[in-house]
């Protein structure tokens, strides 16, 4: 077989001329990334609005008439699903994955640009279907984002007919979109890297996105299958998940299905999904920390192996979400053990981030603040995970606000802080302009302190036994009056944080015109995306010459070099390099 040296692709690169092919039906990964990002942030705002509605009800029950119990549950459900799937997954992989993979790997585009374009438009379709459920009779589904049957499709649950159907269809369409994008990301990283760019020279961002995408390709099938089965239960009257059941005094037409099967399928998707969100965040934050600490990432190889180990382990821990569902005690033991084992690679990563900062030449600019903020929130969220991973501690804490606090800390706030860190960090590359530092820092402190004001008290509410997902607590013997006062405080903090996000959007739009021009490499970063001939990079990224990589991604503050960073595409051996294994030019199979 004859091979074209793939990274030197001058193959039939599509060549857009009109406005439509350049910016609308564009096959350029950078435009697709911005389309993905814009759409994801837009639905994210919808989710933010929904959470504000919930908090108003929880903090001040009986005050607001716009929320009744049904719409409260619908807000809970849609907020969760949008945040996890349509915002975080789409923004990390569709947004940052699309933007950074070809640039960091030194290619001109994704390997199949047309498929990539299709991926975005199908994603947009899934978002439209999802949002359309707000406008149908009965409204969106209100079964909680986990969509547990039999509740989901039993009469009495909000949106038990049309709303849930639209949700399931939207998820199916999303999975198709994700698969098209994900195949592209994995193939691009594996098969189309620049000359000299070995896997162990890849920036950790690419590693995180790569492994997360592989997790997605293996985990979303379980969600797809459960969505198909539930659609049949709903529309055809099959009984995959539905046992014989009474609803509102009437025997429903179901018989012999297994609700636990749905939980297994859902969490076989749902737990890797946590890492689909977390691993890209781990990767991106590593690059941000290293760049702004002017130090190589501590323990690069261990970081890579930790990402891979976490990815692998995430497939054998899913039933820790189901301790209260009823399960053989030996299974509980098994899943508790595997869950706690995940703490090992995760803790390794945290130590390495902290050790990267140790004695670094730290620049406390906005992206760095968000990145350091992430390390804080992630440690806190991770520590509560140790409690919930144990069966005996999970049982009393399950379905309380402790769980809400835990997962918001670990997979809500933490990835969102990384999103902000990354947006502030890569904004100059995307637009060619710097963002305003003062506004950015104000945004950081409001967000960071505000989220602590929201979620730290929630742990306490959980210990008190306040159940999650309740429309109103009412008056109970075991919950003291003070819990309500705490709830009101949380709501005020939440509204404050929500409003503070306006700072970010003002900054984004203001800087688009008025930010000071960034140049190609404002942060003095080593990775390839900062070495493009133009900023923002033009179509095809690299101009006539493809980049050649001579070193790993973290040559910061190397003694004996005239700058405190050595870009990956600079040849030569300067002073002490951490990259002992690849000290000189790597031979590729084409050269041999």
């Amino acid at each position: 077989m004859a091979y074209v040296p793939l990274a030197d692709q001058d193959h039939e690169l599509h060549d857009p001329h009109t406005f439509i092919t350049k910016y609308v039906w564009s096959q350029d990964h950078k435009v697709i990334a911005i389309q993905y990002g814009g759409t994801a942030i837009f639905v994210g705002l919808v989710a933010l609005f929904l959470s504000a509605m919930m908090r108003l009800q929880l903090g001040f029950p009986d005050t607001f008439t716009l929320i009744d119990p049904s719409s409260y549950y619908q807000a809970v459900t849609m907020h969760g699903m949008i945040m996890v799937v349509y915002l975080l997954t789409a923004l990390f992989l569709g947004g940052f994955g699309n933007y950074l993979i070809p640039l960091m790997c030194g290619t001109r585009d994704m390997v199949f640009p047309f498929l990539n374009m299709l991926s975005f438009w199908v994603y947009l379709l899934s978002v439209i279907i999802l949002l359309s459920s707000f406008f149908v009779t009965g409204g969106p589904t209100g079964a909680g984002w986990t969509l547990y049957p039999p509740q989901t499709i039993t009469p009495g649950t909000p949106g038990h007919d049309t709303g849930i159907l639209l949700m399931l269809i939207s998820l199916g369409v999303f999975i198709i979109a994700f698969t098209m994008g994900g195949l592209n990301y994995v193939t691009t990283v594996l098969q189309a890297r620049a000359r000299g760019l070995t896997m162990m020279r890849l920036p950790l961002s690419v590693w995180g996105i790569l492994v997360a995408t592989i997790l997605g390709l293996f985990a979303f099938p379980a969600l797809l299958v459960s969505a198909i089965m539930m659609t049949f239960d709903l529309t055809l009257g099959t009984s995959f998940f539905m046992p014989a059941i009474m609803a509102a005094g009437e025997q429903l037409d179901y018989n012999g299905g297994s609700p636990i099967l749905f939980q297994h399928l859902f969490w076989f998707f749902g737990h890797p999904e946590v890492y689909i969100v977390a691993l890209p965040a781990f990767g991106l934050v590593s690059d941000v920390l290293s760049t702004h600490a002017r130090k190589n990432i501590f323990g690069y190889r261990m970081m890579v192996w930790a990402i891979i180990a976490i990815g692998g382990l995430s497939f054998i821990v899913w039933a820790h979400h189901m301790y209260v569902s009823g399960m053989n005690p030996y299974f509980g033991f098994f899943f508790a053990t595997t869950t706690l084992i995940i703490a090992v690679p995760t803790a390794m990563k945290v130590y390495n981030w902290v050790l990267t900062l140790w004695e670094g030449d730290i620049r406390l600019n906005t992206p760095m603040l968000f990145a350091i903020g992430f390390v804080f929130t992630f440690i806190h969220g991770g520590l509560t995970g140790l409690f919930l991973g144990n069966v005996v501690i999970d049982l009393p804490l399950s379905d309380t606000y402790f769980v809400v606090a835990h997962f918001h800390m670990v997979m809500g706030v933490s990835p969102v802080l990384v999103l902000f860190a990354s947006l502030y960090h890569w904004y100059p590359k995307i637009t060619g302009r710097m963002m305003n530092e003062t506004l950015g820092k104000l945004h950081f402190w409001c967000t960071f302190l505000g989220t602590y004001a929201i979620y730290l008290p929630m742990h306490y509410l959980g210990f008190l036994g306040v159940p999650r997902r309740y429309y109103a607590m009412g008056s109970t013997d075991f919950i003291p009056e003070s819990a309500q006062a705490l709830n009101a405080n949380i709501t005020i903090a939440a509204i404050f944080v929500a409003v503070a996000q306006v700072l970010f959007f003002i900054n984004v739009f203001w800087s688009l015109r008025n930010g000071k021009p960034s140049g190609n490499n404002p942060w003095g970063a080593t990775t390839l995306e900062w070495q493009t001939p133009e900023t923002p990079p033009k179509h095809g990224n690299w101009g006539p010459e493809m980049p050649v990589v001579h070193r790993w991604a973290y040559d910061y503050s190397v003694p004996g070099y005239h700058q405190d960073f050595i870009p990956q595409n600079v040849p030569g051996d300067f002073g002490v390099s951490e990259d002992h294994d690849h000290d000189t030019e790597m031979k590729s199979p084409q050269d041999a």
Partner: protein, 227 residues
Amino acid sequence: MSETVASNLAAPRTGLPGLVDDWSVDKQTYHVPWGKAMMWIFLVSDTFIFSCFLVGYMTVRMTTAEPWPLPTDVFALSLFGSDPIPLILIAIMTFILITSSGTMALAVNYGYRRDKRMTAILMIATAVLGASFVGMQAFEWTKLISEGVRPWENPWGAPQFGSVFFMVTGFHGLHVTGGVIYLSIVAWKVSKGHYDKKGYEIVEITGLYWHFVDLVWVFIFAFFYLW
């Protein structure tokens, strides 16, 4: 270091050292075209879909309280007025699908020999065999529906029997139908000489998909019809 790597690559190592070599080089990890790499990744992902279907099927079969209908009785067919022969239609369908894998493998071989005519003929033969498989599946569905099998009920026992049957064979049938369309398009392009410059890897990539669909059928056959 670079010297040793280069000399190793001159004579590719096999086994574990070969794996290490593949993952240590720059540019591309596997020495295959992009499309082929992507197809492999897609097929692994698709494997998870079918695995979830089959695991779901086994779970409902275990949880349902009513007896599971006997496949040997349900899938029996009288030929020319004989007594009903168990699984005869399924046996023929399986035979046809596996035969189509053979014609596909031949097509790949002729493709790499750049014999456009034979490649196209063999791919069309594969597509025809696949289409006849789908046709027989349609016949099987019709027969069962006329006997009263529905996704929500059937005359012989657990209603999940019909649910699983229509869902799993339907999803597989969609894969086969998609494969037939895919094969026809590629065969047409082959005969037009579209791949003279690009190379005939596309035939092998199509073949990968087709063999996968056949392999999945073997598992469905074993777990649904023989169990």
